[in-house]
């Protein structure tokens, strides 16, 4: 690159850039610090964790041992993770199965009054969660769904579906129309168009959508605690079972929280590149 191509930053602008960069780092660190402290606490003894903030300590994995052994008898680590995994995966699969045709109908072959339809989907998110819990609880009770995985699978599907339709619609809208028309002329059926053109092209977007659904479902606490407080419950509920009324629990709770975060962080890490591309591609426009 020749000198002429380098943007010349002089005087005030240079100073402003440095200041903004510094502010960004400080903000980032402030946000990161609680997570860092949680991870640190999880390797301490309860005593170390509950005394004055201490960086110098002998790390131990005992807390992880404690939390993964079912002590309370309410909900074991293994149960909670299996429940979460099953609920999250099945609900995300159902969401994608329903959202892909819906997004196709809204983006590629816009149905009559598609804007109203789109608004209707997102309007289901306007109602505060708290306001809906009583009717949902009564329904779940009457349908014998309390304390079962099915209740949460249905609910998480309902919660994530509008978001997934909105995201996928914007990804699908970005596929050049001519490509679909070319496939149509080339003899591809609707299924052929979907499998050979639309889905491969929208793959980053679909990955991003799926990941968001997974994260939201994995982290959901409110419905889980109301509908499945004991049996068939999920990781966030399991984390809270490590809060005890007697004795210190901060280090244990930290260890449980770290374990709860790992799958989501891992999924995010693996899908990072695709997800950023996916998010930048259309969802936020």
């Amino acid at each position: 690159m020749s000198n002429a191509d380098v943007p010349v930053v002089v005087g005030e602008r240079k100073w402003v850039n440095h200041a903004l960069g510094f502010a960004a780092w400080v903000t980032g660190l402030i946000f990161f610090f609680p997570v860092f402290w949680m991870v640190l606490n999880s390797f301490k003894t309860e005593q170390d964790a509950n005394t004055a903030p201490k960086i110098n300590f002998t790390p131990t994995l005992d807390r992880y041992d404690d939390v993964t052994k079912s002590a309370s008898g309410l909900l074991s680590f293994g149960e909670a993770f299996t429940n979460s995994a099953v609920i999250v995966l099945i609900s995300t699969l159902i969401v994608l199965t329903l959202a892909i045709p819906a997004a196709y109908a809204l983006a590629i072959r816009p149905v009559h009054k598609w804007r109203d339809v789109l608004f209707f989907f997102i309007s289901t998110k306007f109602l505060p969660v708290v306001a809906s819990i009583l009717p949902i609880w009564i329904l779940a009770k009457n349908l014998n769904l309390l304390n079962s995985r099915n209740a949460l699978i249905i609910l998480y599907t309902g919660i994530n579906l509008p978001l997934a339709i909105w995201m996928l619609r914007s990804f699908f809208s970005e596929i050049p129309r001519e490509l679909i028309e070319a496939a149509e002329i080339d003899g591809a059926s609707l299924k052929g168009q979907l499998t050979s053109i639309i889905l491969p092209m929208a793959a980053p977007g679909i990955a991003a959508t799926a990941l968001l659904c997974v994260i939201f479902a994995w982290n959901e606490f409110f419905y889980a605690v109301q509908l499945n407080p004991v049996k068939g419950s999920t990781v966030p509920i399991w984390v809270t079972t490590n809060i005890s009324t007697r004795g210190d629990f901060l280090a244990k709770l930290s260890a449980a929280s770290v374990l709860a975060c790992i799958p989501v962080v891992l999924a995010g890490w693996i899908a990072q590149k695709r997800m950023i591309r996916g998010l930048a591609m259309g969802a936020i426009k």
């Binding site: 050049p176 001519e178 028309e181 149509e184 002329i185 003899g187 591809a188 059926s189």
Partner: protein, 364 residues
Amino acid sequence: MTVVKYDEATRTYEGTDVAAVDSLNLDIGDGELLVLVGPSGSGKSTALRMLAGLEPLDGGTIYIGDRDVSNVRPRDRDIAMVFQNYALYPQLSVAENMGFALKQQGVPKEERISRVRETARILDLTPYLDRKPKHLSGGQRQRVAMGRAIVRQPAVYLMDEPLSNLDAKLRVQTRTEVVELQNRLGVTTVYVTHDQVEAMTMGDRVAVLKDGVLQQVDAPGTLYHEPENLFVAGFIGSPAMNLVDVGDASPLKIGDSSLTFHGPGASAVGNGAGRITVGFRPEALRVVNDGPLEAHIRTVEDLGPEVYVHVAIDHQSESLPLVSKMPPPFEGNPGDSVRLQIIGATHVFRGDGSRVASTTANLS
């Protein structure tokens, strides 16, 4: 044998009252290369998309061969289309792109491969068969798009401005290649372009559209020499025909010079035709030493084999620009006074734009 017929075909887009294509009647012969040309918004692309089945018809019928295809799905029309942006499938290789339609039709793999290879050979694409479209140049992508259409051996090719994304030099070269290929394959082709030079050089016949209405369909030479109306006269030819509104006075005058018509059709002029516009091509307007019409030179464009002299005359107390095509060498500079004469075909149009006659005229 595949003929294509538009019969009163009409398409009106939702939310508008004006038809994008209005009662189009057009017959395209077997093996013919017909070019649809017009300015943007003329309905040429819509007409093509109606034939492709990508736009529904609001009225009329379209036939491919003897079959009424008005309500037939695109994939059942036995057509292949080349898009302006090529519409290559980005995740598929060149070979897969070209073989896509065959695969959809259920052609056996071996035959598919041999047909793709044969087409690639014709189009010099053999070295690129395994590449993805993003690793190809614009010209190569264009050839892949052509190849994708050719490999199918359809009844009709549809081409929607397939050369407009190429640079000028490559466009001229590819133009010839497309015509050669079309002649060789002998498949009925409908070709859309906004470029009248492309239309004139490629088409067996050219259909000129304006505001969704067919203006004239004829061989390029006929369009050029006998334009049926003012729009066609002005649209076909570059630089455009000189058009002068001469009013309805008798005798007809350009500037201070009177127009006299000779030859066949001359008698039709001036029989109560109302307001008259006369048109003459740049090559019919000559800069001569003793011409009757005075003008001054605005600019001189020396292209080598020909020189375009842009002049301005005083006509009905306004300055009117005209173009003269002169053989080189041409002596003259901007600002110089020159004298003009019309030598050659002159077209006479009524106030409504329709043609009264194409004849010869000169100034005195």
